[in-house]
């Protein structure tokens, strides 16, 4: 099963839930943990894996062979991202605008464009307590997270269970991370912000055809709007974690909930079983 842990709103406890879930079910074996929050990856701070290998993530950007180029302008015409500007006697390339689609090199009538890898991030692979751990990191100053997320997700092995820590929000990096999951767990909090962003996230996972359920973090404060919403939408609340200074303190030190408060382990095991029951047997690719 591929389980993604997302939230809409940031800072609601995705990483807290994903890491504790992983540690609670790791003894079954065959578990992979993927940190797809490549802009701000944090799960390694809690699981402390031993990283053993690293891959660079690159986008293929055009490189013009000026000796062959006739400055016909075809490449600039087909580029949807204004990455190429053809002047009378040379071609200017703005690699940071390139999405790596490959149209320019394929369509150049003179075959004057080759592609060169431009690094935008990296993927680190390691292990911790029997869990295969994969982390993507977007380079500082780079805009596009999806290519790094795709590279992280190449490590998904259908024969293994996979837990994915998803970035906040509901746009392309989130869609890229959640796509192909059998279930999406949405972590939220009982505040108007949590509710507003949960509703956006529910719309997003429904658009992708993925079943979802909610973990209500910091329960006991705020209002009941989130619970009312879940009831009216038929979205199950699978777990509640109370607002508790001790939980916040453990989190601040990088200690997982199930290690800092072992009494929580059974709740996470039960949560995982419930998710397995609710997950779709066939993931939408």
């Amino acid at each position: 099963m591929i389980l993604s842990v997302a939230s809409g709103k940031g800072g609601t406890g995705k990483t807290l839930v994903a890491t504790s879930l992983a540690l609670s079910v790791k003894d079954r074996g065959n578990l992979s943990f993927l940190d797809c929050d490549v802009e701000e990856p944090n799960a390694h701070l809690f699981l402390k894996p031993d990283f053993r290998s690293q891959e660079t993530v690159s986008i293929s950007v055009p490189s013009v062979i000026e000796d062959i180029c006739t400055h016909c302008g075809k490449c600039a015409e087909v580029c949807a991202y204004n990455c190429l500007a053809v002047l009378k006697d040379r071609v200017m390339v703005f690699p940071e605008l390139c999405h790596g689609c490959g149209a320019c090199s394929y369509l150049c009538p003179e075959k004057a464009i080759t592609e060169a890898g431009r690094p935008v991030g990296q993927v680190d692979v390691g292990h911790v307590q029997g869990i295969d751990f994969v982390r993507g990191t977007l380079n500082v100053g780079e805009a596009m997270a999806p290519p790094v997320i795709k590279k992280v997700k190449e490590h998904i092995d259908p024969a293994r269970d996979t837990i994915i820590d998803v970035p906040p929000g509901t746009s392309c990096p989130v869609v890229e991370s959640v796509r192909g999951s059998h279930f999406c767990l949405l972590v939220t909090e009982p505040t108007p912000f949590g509710l507003n962003d949960l509703a956006l996230a529910v719309d997003m996972v429904r658009e992708l055809g993925i079943p979802c359920g909610v973990v209500l973090n910091r329960a006991g404060v705020g209002d009941t709007g989130t619970q009312d919403y879940c009831r009216s939408q038929g979205v199950p609340i699978l777990m509640e974690i109370p607002l508790d200074r001790e939980i916040a303190r453990l989190y601040s030190q990088g200690v997982t909930l199930v290690e800092g408060m072992p009494a929580w382990r059974q709740a996470f095991i039960d949560l995982y079983s419930e998710i397995q029951r609710l997950a779709t047997p066939e993931a939408v690719p």
Partner: protein, 290 residues
């Protein structure tokens, strides 16, 4: 005119809480919510929407099934795996399509069109604190960076028209495309962080992004008393980076209560959080020279 953006790296550190309080404190400004894929500022500012505009962000390929003979060239060439062969019929997955137009340019039968994609809406609203420009990205849509640029441009236009001397912006989390679109060319970034290992890790990255783009940044530590050692560590790290930490805001459940009441915390309570936010705003104003 000055432009200030509140960002954080890590999500949920309190950006919107801080911005909403500044909204109540600042005069002659236009507010903008740059967190377009999970916008929350409107929940505290209670806007009356005056104008709604459609946002077109990029294009999406559309295959005419009557013209397509299923040759599969588009599928072979698409690097975003957006085209699948469903039993002889080629289909485009709009959530994967990046709108590059490669398929459109190569289809031997001219069976592919690039359609403008309505990727969301942006709004110009009135609030009790002044004009607010905000947006809502469509479900599972791309191009949030482009929408951020759009709302910033609109806010600037409103500010110029009304003679406002400040644009106050609630930024998105992370360090990628919408963040870069939010901070390019601004006068000052206020980074709200929290004293957790995640907060420290993410602060380092967002400050690096600000420095990479030459944006002056100041830091405030929210919920500083959750972990005093980590707060000290943040101040030490910032000192090394040459960034000023201008505030420590205490943890107080009154913040969550003010959210539930739909009110900026400085208007909801006159406790220590509010006192500190008033002080932070005064410091920001001095730094901006306004």
């Amino acid at each position: 005119m000055k432009e200030v953006v509140v960002i954080s790296g890590k999500g949920g550190t309190g950006k919107t809480t801080v911005v909403a309080s500044f909204a109540a404190l600042a005069r002659d400004k236009v507010m903008v919510d740059c967190d377009v894929d999970a916008a929350d500022l409107h929940l505290l500012l209670e806007p009356h929407v005056k104008e709604t505009h459609e946002f077109y962000g990029g294009t999406c390929a559309l295959i005419d099934a009557d013209l397509c003979n299923g040759c599969g060239l588009c599928q072979d060439l698409c690097r975003f795996d957006a085209i699948t062969d469903t039993g002889g019929e080629m289909r485009v997955d709009p959530t994967s399509c990046e709108g590059c137009g490669f398929c459109y340019n190569v289809c031997p039968l001219g069976a592919i069109q690039m359609k403008e994609r309505m990727a969301g809406h942006w709004f110009l609203s009135g609030t009790r604190y002044g004009p607010l420009v905000h947006a809502r990205l469509g479900v599972a849509q791309e191009n949030s960076g482009k929408l951020v640029t759009q709302v910033r441009q609109e806010a600037k236009a409103v500010a110029e028209e009304s003679g406002a001397n400040l644009i106050l912006s609630d930024g998105p989390p992370g360090i990628g495309c919408p963040v870069i679109a939010s901070i390019s060319g601004i006068d000052l970034a206020l980074v709200v962080t929290e004293p957790t290992l995640s907060g420290i890790h993410d602060l380092d990255r967002i400050v690096s992004v600000c420095q990479h783009f030459g944006i002056p940044a100041l830091v405030c530590v929210n919920k500083y008393d959750i972990n005093l050692d980590n707060t000290d560590r943040i101040e030490e790290n910032c000192r090394e980076l040459g960034i000023d930490v201008i505030s420590r805001i205490p943890f107080d459940e009154v913040v969550i209560k003010s959210l539930a009441a739909g009110s900026p915390v400085v208007e909801y309570s006159d406790g220590s959080v509010s006192t500190e936010l008033v002080r932070v705003w005064k410091t920001l104003k001095e730094r901006l020279g306004t």
